[in-house]
Subunit: 210 residues, 2 copies
């Protein structure tokens, strides 16, 4: 995965190629995207494209890696630890839920799953940069909340995973199966609230002030 191999990173049109590739890959997947389409979308000749990237696979990996990085950063900016636990969780749940059903996340997920046999490294890279990283951040926060006496959790890792799983209720699989691709804010808010309620019922200390 860290293999950049023989990619030419200098040159005026490198970024242009990458942007075009991102656009077409995200829309059509790996097999569905033809190199001609990508070159056209990038506003670049096929020969130019191949002067930067030795083949389609490597171009795809480059794009996917960039997407993973973006996703990771986005998750990082989600938690603000200064507020009380329930509030923090509510905000995190809302953002996470919205993100999980976004066009962006859905497309990347779809490609990872679809090409899992062709690119085993891709699924792993995405999982680590995305879900795993996000859950690590969440677990770290939960740990602090526990030591502040706000929450009662034995296994913060499992709790973090349960939290993000609860944010998928109802809408995520509808998005994954292509049944619904646009979600209203109040749908998202409701799922987030349900998730926090359930989470706090199990892990909240003292009376669940739901």
């Amino acid at each position: 995965m860290t293999q950049t191999a023989t990619i030419l990173r200098t040159g005026r049109k490198f970024d242009q190629v990458l942007r075009g590739a991102r656009e077409v890959f995200m829309a059509d997947g790996f097999e569905g995207a033809s190199v001609d389409d990508i070159a056209r979308a990038a506003g670049v000749s096929k020969a130019t494209l191949y002067s930067y990237f030795p083949d389609k696979r490597l171009l795809f990996m480059e794009v996917a890696q960039n997407e993973c990085r973006l996703m990771s950063e986005r998750i990082l900016s989600m938690i603000d630890e200064t507020k009380p636990a329930r509030e923090v969780l509510q905000i995190a749940a809302t953002q996470l839920t919205a993100f999980l059903v976004s066009e962006f996340a859905q497309q990347v997920f779809r490609i990872c799953v679809a090409e899992r046999d062709r690119f085993p490294e891709l699924g792993r890279a995405f999982y680590e940069a995305g879900p795993q990283n996000g859950q690590r951040q969440m677990a770290a926060y939960l740990e602090k909340a526990v030591s502040k006496g706000e929450l009662c959790i034995e296994d913060v890792q499992i709790a973090a995973e349960q939290f993000s799983e609860l944010c998928k209720v109802r809408i995520w699989s509808r998005a994954a199966f292509g049944i619904q691709n646009c979600f209203r804010q109040d749908e998202i808010d409701e799922i987030a609230t349900q998730a926090v309620d359930m989470f706090m019922a199990n892990y909240g200390c003292g009376p669940s002030k739901k």
Copy 2:
């Protein structure tokens, strides 16, 4: 989806074709499976195959529909309502968790997601026959348990969805991303137990005798 159109269902080798198609499609997906491969796997000439099915798409749909039916039946046989709620849920959680990460379910899911643009009906058909149907059964059971006073649930539909979502914690996404494809029974049992614990903490009546 109910469109059978011009499929020839009579003839000695119909089932043979279907079995071969199932095998190859499940292994390689829609694009990955070539008609020649399927004919070979079915032990049938390509011409014969095309005498039954007008094209590859319809053959795929037929296979996928059959798989959905099987899945639906399997989920149906999961609940035994005579025992106490916690026990019923524990059994259901174990079976559901094991099913969700099985080779079979993962392959069907992968194909649905990968081909969602090419076959929008497929995703819908699978969703209805699989998750939605399973959750309807679960919600029906929860309803009874509530009226027996075993559980306290406002929205049984949401509760059913939360239940199945909790069964995915930790292992499901690892399977989906191709990071892990074999799961020990004790891993499954642990997730199932965690799911039931959390569920009962929120919806159990009286003292949570965890």
